[in-house]
Subunit: 254 residues, 2 copies
DNA sequence: GTTCGGCGGTCGACAATGTCGAACACCGGA
DNA sequence: TCCGGTGTTCGACATTGTCGACCGCCGAAC
């Protein structure tokens, strides 16, 4: 039995399908999307529902993701060592920079946000923990792509979507950006992902000097930039934070 | 095939086990905890790992929850209708009350926090989305227990832990509290869960008048209370917010 | 009101599937 | 070097999940 367990694989596929589609999906939708018999699909859905991973709307009979996933996802964060070490430093960074702080790790073909500190003002902000950001256009993504070989391969193999006129999509151009990132130890995103939004990020290393994640700040380009470049003060603050977290990861274990 | 799919059930049990234990677990630990053969357990873990639901520490070989769960949990929030409707109102409530706002739904034997607005000041706060709160001692929990028959049964069947000297654990005493809650339409928690912390909450109903969740605020007892009671202004603000969300969901007309 | 098409859900036969336990390779400590 | 422990692989067995036809239901169409 060298392979994987079929039914578990299929259950995972169901969950991923439900996560993708914005609205609820019916039994028949799920079955046809996965190419399974209705009976089989129903069995999987019934089990997932029983376990709390999937919920069914009483009225329409359609299925959606369940609350248990949120609870488990939260448990993942509790165990996450990088996040635990970074909590205090990212808070300081938000205070010092006056911008939102993000902590991301490589996951599949993107950056998974595992921590997010709101910009310290009263503005209305949406929490982005659990969200995915692209590798080739965000500061976090560029840092991971530059320092993590796995991320590098993913970013090159992947189709690089153009989000704004400034998004870098050509492979050779991206390589140049990554070289620059490696050389100076940080990366920027100047309106390459969202119009009017810029970000800076620096890598976090573990005790073996392997890249495990990236921290960065994101904010309106008018505040974060000066003369078309990220303010040096902010770059320094981000790099200080990344170094502090890296030091914490290298020291305190065992 | 009226039952559930065994392997999916077992995979869910593995995930729940990993979520429970604080630190990573080894293959043998998981196998013995679930009463399964090592080979079987390994197959499940291998599949879950392949799907990203579980990660394995290269050094120790031990297993922990994976990043994909965080991503799926986040997707759950995106679909969540109650949360979407509540976003704007809870923000206003935080501003008006000056305290943290929580939005919770019944999940298993507790309250699952699906939205959390930080207290609008610069203090350091931990995001609690995805966390579980007890039914019998928190304001959110009491509201759900009072208005949702399912929650009511859970709370009575469950062993009610004593968190502080003021926690209500006796069944008949709790019933009295629930009667009061139903009568006045809101519930309070005066240092019954955490010392020095008080909270108020009110129920959110859907279009069929069924309770679907609860909103509430939580804060230091010195700020939230006056003469040993919740400030009337805060109670009114919370109830207004709950009514507003209910109205948005298509519920009450007033 | 009645028909019809689609929905979610069920059932039972079949064999593909996952399970089990023994055996494996590997590591660290004694 | 040995040992006890780990995670991992393997093959025989029968349990288990799969499939597709079938059922009852609901809402739209007419």
């Amino acid at each position: 039995m060298a392979g994987s367990i079929q039914s578990v694989e299929r259950a995972a596929a169901v969950l991923r399908l439900l996560a993708g589609g914005e609205r609820r999906l019916g039994l028949t939708d799920v079955a046809s999307a996965l190419g399974l018999a209705k009976g089989t699909t129903h069995g999987i859905l019934r089990t997932l529902q029983q376990e709390g991973f999937v919920e069914q709307d009483d009225a329409s009979g359609k299925y959606q993701l369940g609350a248990e996933l949120l609870r488990l996802g939260n448990s993942y964060l509790d165990v996450h060592e990088l996040r635990a070490r970074a909590l205090v430093w990212t808070d300081d960074l938000a205070r010092a920079s006056g911008e939102s702080v993000y902590l991301g790790v490589l996951h599949q073909q993107g950056v998974l946000i595992v921590h997010h500190v709101f910009r310290p003002d009263d503005s209305r902000q949406v929490l982005e923990v659990g969200a995915m950001h692209p590798l080739h256009s965000t500061a976090l993504g560029k840092v991971l792509t530059a320092f993590d070989p796995v991320a590098h391969r993913e970013a090159l193999e992947l189709e690089r979507e153009r989000f704004t006129p400034r998004t870098v999509t050509a492979a050779d151009e991206l390589e140049g950006v990554l070289d620059l990132t490696r050389a100076r130890g940080w990366a920027a995103d100047l309106e390459e992902t969202w119009d009017g939004v810029a970000s800076v990020a620096a890598p976090v290393h573990d005790r073996r000097r392997m890249p495990v994640g990236a921290v960065g700040i994101t904010g309106a380009v008018e505040r974060v930039c000066e003369d078309g470049e990220i303010r040096a003060r902010l770059v320094a603050a981000v790099r200080d934070c990344a170094r502090a977290v890296s030091r914490d990861l290298g020291g305190g274990r065992f």
